[in-house]
């Protein structure tokens, strides 16, 4: 007797179809699972056997073989429990599964269906493969229902699924339509209006948010660098649907998606500690790599405080994702690619003690110490950060006065307008413009070009630095509502290049 259903396994964000076949008949009693199943899948035998028995179904008492095809694909995870059990039940009932259907779920010994990680990714992938009816754990139904154009069947128990298929009692499909999910964002925790002074840094935040530029804040301890960085998500526009889904996919893989609210419109804000490992920041682990902090920060903000304290190899590994917006990691289980298009906000002290350059409070570091501290930041990584701004101590009289800063909401309106201009003109943010498109889309007024070239010659700017300043000038013009880049925009952009000053 033969029964078969479809399911899938995940390799990062890739979905691979798995055909589950169950066959039983004469022979010595036994239960075999074949088809390159790893330990977690082999263990399914015990769960499936108990679940079938405890669901009031009969477990075949003779030889039972389950094949997971294609046999050359490595299969991992517990999501194959439900499809294996359903295939066995269908073999006994001599039934076929509904057309274009697929099954995912882990089984408890009593036959109930449990949550598995990565449902959103799996369901999107299955939908792309042409499946129309997908059986998922009831706990994960809201997550699966974010995918449009499919029918999601929430499964509470194995017996309910079998009853549904044989036509005893139908399960009503979960409500679909992600558009129905409230698109409200939370009130941001930090508002720019609460930040005293620091107009220069606030302006840098605004430019960074508008153009998607990476930003470095440099200044002594306790002047508000962290506070400023935490204001960043509040001046970014809320996620759009495709972005929110991409963010949710990464969280789904990690099992971090809240059940009651699978779709979150807030921009992610991640602030890993400087002791973070390579695998923690970039992604990694054994077998197949899991996403790291940079992928959790996809479409949001990655805040690295005390940048110079991070291990050098970890910082070096940031270079590829900073350029390409994604990261590829190869481990023994294969190579996976995760999205990592984030805005980097980094903060650093100017020297180990933090007070170099402060006129009133002396720095106690040796020149050699400052040099080696700053050298840890210099070079290729710094070259990829478009905006650098010094954050100073705010005078006491400013601190004591009432905050008079602009609220985040007002800044966000300008950022949204500037982003719209960019989307209309080029379909991407300014920070992602290649030099060739920059020449085409960001014409410089003659005076603007002259200033940029003069600065470049005076400071020995690299070609990369030249283009970065140009991109920032493009953003300054967009914030200004200007289609042409005037001299004042270039001059402002150059004002955010602290690295040309350190000498």
């Amino acid at each position: 007797m033969l029964g078969s259903v479809d399911s899938c396994v995940l390799a990062g964000l890739d979905v691979r179809r798995v055909h589950v076949e169950a066959d039983y008949g004469r022979g010595d009693p036994g239960f075999f699972v074949v088809g390159l199943a790893t330990t977690s899948v082999k263990e399914a035998r015990e769960r499936v056997r108990s679940a079938i028995k405890n669901s009031g179904l009969e477990f075949p008492s003779n030889r039972l073989a389950v094949n997971l095809a294609p046999a050359e694909l490595r299969k991992e995870g517990t999501g194959l429990d439900l499809p294996i059990a359903v295939a066995i039940a269908l073999a006994r009932a001599a039934k076929r599964p509904p057309a274009r259907s697929a099954f995912i779920g882990e089984l408890a010994l009593d036959g109930s269906v449990r949550h598995v990680d990565g449902i959103l990714v799996a369901v999107r992938g299955l939908s792309n493969l042409g499946y129309e009816q997908i059986f998922v754990p009831a706990d994960d139904a809201a997550e699966a229902a974010l995918v449009e154009g499919i029918q999601v069947i929430p499964c509470r128990s194995l017996s309910a699924v079998v009853n549904h298929i044989v036509g005893v009692e139908a399960i009503s499909p979960a409500q679909s339509a992600p558009a129905g999910v409230s698109s409200e964002t939370d009130q941001p925790d930090h508002d720019l209006a609460e930040v005293h002074g620091q107009e220069e840094a606030k302006r840098a935040l605004e430019v960074a948010a508008a153009g998607g530029h990476h930003l470095l804040l440099s200044g002594p301890p306790g002047v508000g660098k962290t506070m400023l960085a935490r204001c960043m998500p509040g001046i970014l526009p809320p996620l759009v649907l495709t972005e929110a889904l991409e963010v949710a996919q990464v969280r789904s893989l990690l099992g971090e998606l809240p059940r009651d609210r699978p779709l979150d419109w807030n921009r992610p804000f991640r602030a890993p500690h400087h002791g973070v490992s390579m695998a923690g920041l970039i992604g990694g682990g054994t077998g197949l790599a899991t996403p790291g902090e940079i992928s959790r920060a996809h479409h949001g903000v990655l805040f690295l405080d005390e940048l110079a304290e991070f291990q050098a190899p970890v910082l070096q590994a940031l270079r590829q994702p900073l350029e390409s917006g994604r990261v590829s990691i190869t481990r023994s289980g294969g190579s996976v690619t995760y999205p990592a298009r984030f805005t980097l906000v980094a903060a650093t002290n100017p020297c180990p003690c933090g007070w170099a350059g402060d006129t009133l409070r002396g720095c106690r570091c040796t020149p050699g110490g400052i040099d080696s501290y700053q050298r840890r930041l210099s070079g290729p990584l710094l070259d990829r950060i478009d905006l650098q701004v010094g954050v100073r101590r705010v005078p006491l009289e400013t601190l004591a006065s009432e905050p008079t800063g602009e609220p985040s909401a007002a800044v966000r309106n300008r950022v949204v307008a500037a982003r719209l201009r960019q989307a209309d003109r080029q379909g991407c943010l300014n920070a992602q413009l290649k030099p060739s498109r920059l020449r085409q889309l960001a014409g410089l007024a003659p005076t603007a070009r002259r200033s940029l070239e003069r600065w470049s010659a005076q400071r020995g700017m690299t070609a990369r630095g030249f283009h970065r300043a140009w991109r920032v000038a493009r953003t300054a013009a967009d914030l200004d509502g200007s289609e042409h880049i005037e001299e004042r925009h270039v001059l402002e952009a150059l004002g955010f290049r602290l690295q040309d000053v350190a000498a």
Binding site: P350, G357, G362, G390, A502
Partner: protein, 291 residues
Amino acid sequence: MSRTSSEDARGDRGVQAPLRARGRWPPPEGPRVAIVGSRRPSPYGEAVAEQLGLELARAGVVVISGLALGIDAAAHRGALNGGGVTVAVMGTGVDVIYPSAHSVLAEAILRGGGALVSQFPDGTAPRRHNFPARNYTMAALSDVVVVVEAAEGSGALITAEAALDLHKEVMAVPGSVFSPLSVGTHGLIRDGAGLVQNARDVLAAVSPGGEVLDDPLAPPGGLGFKLPRERDGILSHLSDVLALSAAEIARKLQLPIAEVLGRLTALELDGAVRRHQDGYVRALRRGKDSA
């Protein structure tokens, strides 16, 4: 603190060991002035040292310093920009450039007809205890020692001390009373060191008699330092000692920050202001950028 003996100071009295030299040694005839100070000066101190180096070199003075970071480097650079001869007295072997970042500067000193000299054998690596001895040598080789910015306990004060022992003239450039870098120099002035306001004060000290009749400095009259011409409202708000952030300037002028940043950059391009880690300061002269 005036010099009691002039002729024997010409030689190498007080130099303990034979000197090794690269480049032209001894340097051309003429007065020798050492310019020393903090390795981490304020923008003001750096500008003063560079300007003094430049103007003294133009007046035919051999500018002596220690090839260190900060004031030393600024003095050498100024002298080279003035087309003069400058001598670096090193605390390492003459073949060991320390800090290594100054190898370009050392080359320029040699090309400019100056010299690198040291009392230490070739190959001597930088050692903490060698530098005070070097400072003593520097004082011995100079007629006048000018200190520009020295915090308490600075090595520049050792040079000044040595100069007093050797009966050489010690002079100091005053700084901001708010700055810890002025403690050493103001202490010297309190104890009787000559006050340096411009290069002419130093020239007066190297030619005994006091009066510089043939003023070598152009333009004559007024201060030795030229202040940049006022172009708009921003410059008058900037100090040449304490750095001011763009935010503070914007607040004073009641202008949007984006505009102030742009105008500051324009002034920076013209060499009228300098950007510092901590904010903006007024540059002491227009001219090509030295950063």
